[in-house]
């Protein structure tokens, strides 16, 4: 049973039936899924959701599938962690981490959007799924395609690090490395998407793919006891997730799952690739492209496809945004790891560093519920932090050696001694 009415152009409002297309035939504006909210309202309830398995399909009425979900049955419903120690460090009383670094099966928020895209791909009758990616997206597409038994083609720019390639190739897709710069890769992938009858998850299935991002927000609200947080900080790359958080909060109100609540949404970008933050600070909603130069490769998109909608959403919700230098990003990764035991990739370090700035600026008040969305896992980007962690001490297998070292290190420190208070 579907609750989808169809697709609507976000620019000229033209309606389309549900089909695998992503831009308006008239104005080339992006398309968005539209639902029958009145029917959803009479069908959905908190109790019904609570009775379902702990995965992202708990909110299936608000997702664009017609039948039963096909993949992602273990994806989503990641922990929402009360971050006492990080909160203390940042000076925020009620701080939470929504931790998609442990999302199943490929440890990033992309498992959400890909679960929805591939379930839709199967409903549309595609036998091949594809994407162009440098990391998390390719990992997720390859893994979910394997689970679904679909053919899979992954396109990567030539010269990508081995570790990032293996995180996808292990699942058995055909992986095509394309020579040329990112512009060339973009153009070729777009042409392949047009020519071959494949589900290119973030191209022709983009309207469905991006709907999966809403589940991140649905879960936060449910995990907070059906309350919308006051502030939420999320990294911006292509710009998929931020506008969808706002859409999710609005939908929850519209279908009666929450009564009220307004959330200010903040964007976090790396200083070496911050087109959205530059636009925000200039007071314009038009994004001037930049050439990325940052260690935060998973969010290094110089001309975000949905950048305009990111800025618009931030302005509508009363949020803001900030950027963080590579040094601040690495400090953010270390701070999150050392206070909350969560190892995130540079995108997550960016969010922590930006939250710190926004609190210091007084943009985020210290006494209101605030959520940081951690969208990726640090074990995939070990090289980024290799230079900033303490090197192991090497001693002989002799207790005296250790005694000497221990005294030298003067452990336990005061900080460790008070650990365990919470």
């Amino acid at each position: 049973m579907t609750f989808v009415k169809g697709l609507k152009c976000r620019e000229c409002n033209q309606d389309y039936p549900k089909q695998p297309i992503h831009v308006c035939e008239t104005c080339f504006g992006p398309l968005e899924v539209v639902y029958d909210y009145d029917r959803i309202k009479s069908s959905i309830s908190r109790e019904k959701i609570a009775s379902r398995p702990n995965n992202l399909w708990r909110y299936r009425e608000l997702l664009p599938i017609d039948g039963e979900p096909k993949v992602g049955l273990y994806s989503g419903y990641t922990p929402l962690i009360r971050a006492y120690r990080l909160g203390e460090a940042l000076g925020v009383k009620q701080l939470y981490i929504k931790d998609d670094s442990v999302n199943h099966p490929t440890f990033s928020y992309k498992d959400r959007v890909v679960s929805v895209a591939i379930s839709c791909a199967i409903e549309f009758g595609f036998d091949t799924v594809s994407c162009a990616s440098t990391g998390n997206l390719a990992n997720a597409v390859a893994a979910h395609a394997a689970k679904a038994g679909l053919n899979c083609y992954v396109f990567i720019p030539d010269g990508l690090e081995q570790a990032k390639i293996i995180g996808s190739t292990i699942y058995g897709p055909r992986t095509i490395s394309i020579k040329g710069n990112y512009d060339d890769v973009n153009r070729l992938c777009s042409e392949i998407g047009d020519k071959y009858d494949w589900a290119f998850v973030n191209v022709n299935l983009r309207p469905y793919y991006s709907e999966g991002a809403k589940t991140h927000a649905f879960e936060i609200v449910e995990q907070l006891g059906w309350k919308i947080p006051r502030h939420i900080v999320v990294a911006t790359a292509g710009g998929t997730i931020l506008p969808k958080l706002a859409k999710a909060f609005n939908e929850l109100k519209r279908v009666g799952l929450v009564e009220d609540g307004e959330c200010k949404i903040y964007s976090a970008q790396a200083s070496g690739c911050d087109p959205v933050i530059q636009a925000l600070k200039k007071g314009t909603d038009l994004i001037s492209p930049v050439k990325p130069n940052t260690i935060a490769s998973s969010i290094a998109i110089g001309n975000p496809a949905d950048g305009y909608y990111v800025v618009k959403t931030i302005q509508e919700t009363g949020g803001w945004g900030e950027s963080a230098t590579d040094e601040e990003i690495l400090d953010g990764i270390k701070l999150l790891a050392s206070t909350e035991g969560i190892f995130t990739e540079p995108a997550g370090g960016t969010e922590v560093a930006v939250t710190k700035k926004l609190v210091q600026q007084g943009r985020i008040p210290r006494d209101e519920p605030t959520v940081i969305c951690i969208t990726g896992n640090g074990y995939k980007t070990i090289e980024a932090v290799a230079g900033i962690v303490e090197k192991p001490f090497c001693i002989n297998a002799d207790l005296k050696n250790f005694d000497d070292l221990y005294n030298q290190l003067n452990q336990p420190s005061r900080e460790k001694a008070v650990a365990g208070k919470r």
């Binding site: 831009v23 080339f28 162009a132 973030n202 790359a237 314009t284 496809a305």
Partner: protein
Amino acid sequence: MAAKKEKVRERVYLTFPGKLVKEPILCLMAKKFDILFNIRGSTVTKEIGLAALEVDSEREEIDRAIRWLKETGVLVEPIGKNVIE
């Protein structure tokens, strides 16, 4: 007899930096290359120009036109912009 070259249609998204906003770039492109194009959407401010184009021609001619646009300083992307994530 030479084989007839394949005609293709391509949708591109163009971003003009501020310094090119007052230049007649698309008009020059129309004069320089044997292409047909239709502007489906556009926005112009002092600082930036955006245009969504549907271009029809032979593949090589579209390639040449796109190369010229890039050399002129225009950012040329597929209509969905960044495909790589």
